[in-house]
Subunit: 218 residues, 4 copies
DNA sequence: CATGAATGAGTGTTCATTCAT
DNA sequence: CATGAATGAACACTCATTCAT
């Protein structure tokens, strides 16, 4: 299973021919369930969402869920992991399409904003709402999360090499900071329902600015 | 009940003489339970912690907990609220002891770091771990949380007035950003078990610097 | 303890001098509690009424109730028994004041109506609302209930001897029937809030008529 | 679901073919549980009976009960309502098979006696034992109970029209009285374990006689 | 005696998980 | 494979009862 295989634009046809019919079938079911689960989790939160809710939403029987996911935790975990995978995929793709570290940073910020904006539900589930501690720590150790972190750290190191970013900071820390600034903006963006139509481009410009220059008046 | 009365350093003697024996007794029990609950919540998270766990930890019977707290939510809520109260109290106190907005900002950052460092368990519960949505929204409306936010916003406005902080940003957003940066640092501090003995003073200096000047190499 | 001793008109003075101070004191407490319990049971029903409710209502501590009553059942039992005792006392007294079996019957009906009318709460507790099976069967075997039944049966036997009532019926059954007719009337009387001010005298006349002549049109 | 479908004589075969396999299966389970509940409620009363008791008696797991009944109240309610439905069905059926109001009255009395005699457990639960106030008031408003009362009242009105019953009495009251007389008889019948083999026919004759002619010696 | 804080067994209900069909 | 009925452990909360003060 690769990044493409869980892409939500998957349709019967688009599934890579590499997988045999059985595998393809299996994948479709899984995607159905994940999609339903995402919806239900976002609506009710992890603990109040029941497997029955999810199954009903996906129009399968309760037991069917367990043919594809070991347990509730796994299902939740899968959602999060898949999202991160997709975000990472996008970030990598877009980064590969621009030259210059600064441009890569800008792309990263913009695409992250775009992604979370589209994936409102996911953001609510994972970033802001309740989840389950055991899952979070499990996730932190997952390959995908690691990969994502590595991608970001690599970018930071590049920026440090090019003297865009101070060298006395740990790349990991800088990377986290950027993540948190983005998160803060998105969160506020939703809370203040008003003038929220400030363009994503503009938003990402502000973030870039803040990230690089801080909040100091010049 | 004031900020002092739930102070975790409370001992038989330190309890203000203002309270009669009964009230004092009650307060001690409450503190016992809160302390136990803090521990259990931090260990297991809100949902997996049971009232029986907490009662056992506090060496009381299950029902005793309900003599002091209406329900599980209330108990959790009490813990969080009390902590915020205490942090706010410290922040205000320390801020009143320095002159200058910049110094107040520095004090805020340093004291927050110090507080969260001492309250490791609490930090884990509230800032990073799961909690319950209903509680969070209840909390957001609580006077204490409001006060805390107001305090922070006031500081940001002052900083904007004194041209320390850019005026084109909403004070609320800036305040959130600072909070997130602090959070990030503490979190990373714990995760990376190594060289974590970097002094709190140094840490808060770095944060102040980052907050004001961003990550741009100069 | 005799019939008088639990009479609700008891005041410190009216308590028979036969009892020593301690006993008198004890009796007053018991009466306080019974009175409170009656109120609370009537308000909430047996199961939803708590000992704490009752204690609070009586303005005693929870534990105090247990100095006078072995347990909740006993307390409930005491109330019912005391009421029956008082009704029986009244019936006997009034019956002794009239001549003739028919008059005694009339007196019985009238006084029962009067009693239940005054003791609305009690009626609700015992006759119509929930109670506890175990208590009811315990009560059925109590001396007081037995006495009351005997009194009624004696009256029925007299009526049979005087050919006022058919001799082919068991006195116990006839006695029950009368009781149920009275019950039915009282119940309906309360339900149909309207013209309920039909005089007790008139009511008891109708019941007497129905009891003796049945519902047959003549 | 009609009167037949919950009939306690249901067997795999007797279930109307109208229902598909699933529905039939469901009905059987429901009947199992109702039967068990009836037994346990009659044995312990509403409050002391636990869902676990009932489930164990029915040889199902605790949770299974909740697949068929929303809660304890509903289960209890279902039992009572079903019984009333069945009694009403019988009364109507039998009443339709005789001519004359007097005969209908006789039939009503006899069939009620027969029904309560067979449904000893139920009678104990509902008519004489504790239940729950909330359920009782819920029941009083139920269509079934209304229907039953209407049926009885209609009969009384007919009897009044035919001058079998005095016209100066409210039909509702007369109907209640008859109900109470029947109740009294059944209750006594069980209590006095002795010569209780007095035939049901004879019993209902006596009741009819008492109801119409009262207890007056002629 | 009076108190009322403490107790802890008990219960209705939920829901993740299993498994016979 | 799919189903969804059945399972039963788990848990928050209550309250009759006790007992140290």
């Amino acid at each position: 299973m690769n990044i493409y295989s869980l892409n939500s634009e998957i349709t019967e046809e688009s599934v890579p021919v590499l997988l045999d019919r059985k595998e393809r079938h299996r994948l479709l079911r899984k995607t159905d369930i994940i999609r339903a689960a995402e919806h239900v989790f976002a609506l009710k939160g992890f603990h109040k969402a029941t497997i029955q809710d999810i199954a009903r939403q996906a129009q399968y029987a309760t037991g069917t869920v367990y043919l594809y996911f070991a347990d509730k935790d796994s299902l939740y975990f899968s959602i999060v992991e898949e999202k991160i995978k997709r975000l990472l995929h996008i970030l990598k793709l877009k980064a590969s399409q621009v030259r210059g570290t600064r441009e890569k940073l800008e792309s990263s910020i913009y695409e992250s904003l775009r992604f979370f904006d589209k994936e409102h539900d996911f953001f609510r589930i994972f970033v802001r709402e309740e989840s389950c501690w055991s899952i979070k720590s499990k996730l932190a150790k997952s390959t995908t999360a690691q990969e994502r972190k590595e991608f970001s750290i690599k970018l930071m190191k590049e920026a440090q090499a090019e003297k865009i970013i101070r060298r006395d900071l740990l790349p990991g820390q800088v990377s986290d900071m950027l993540e948190f600034i983005i998160t803060t903006f998105i969160f506020n963006w939703w809370e203040e329902g008003t003038e929220r139509k400030k363009d994503l481009k503009v938003m990402s410009g502000i973030i870039m600015d803040l990230f690089l220059n801080g909040v100091k008046q010049r």
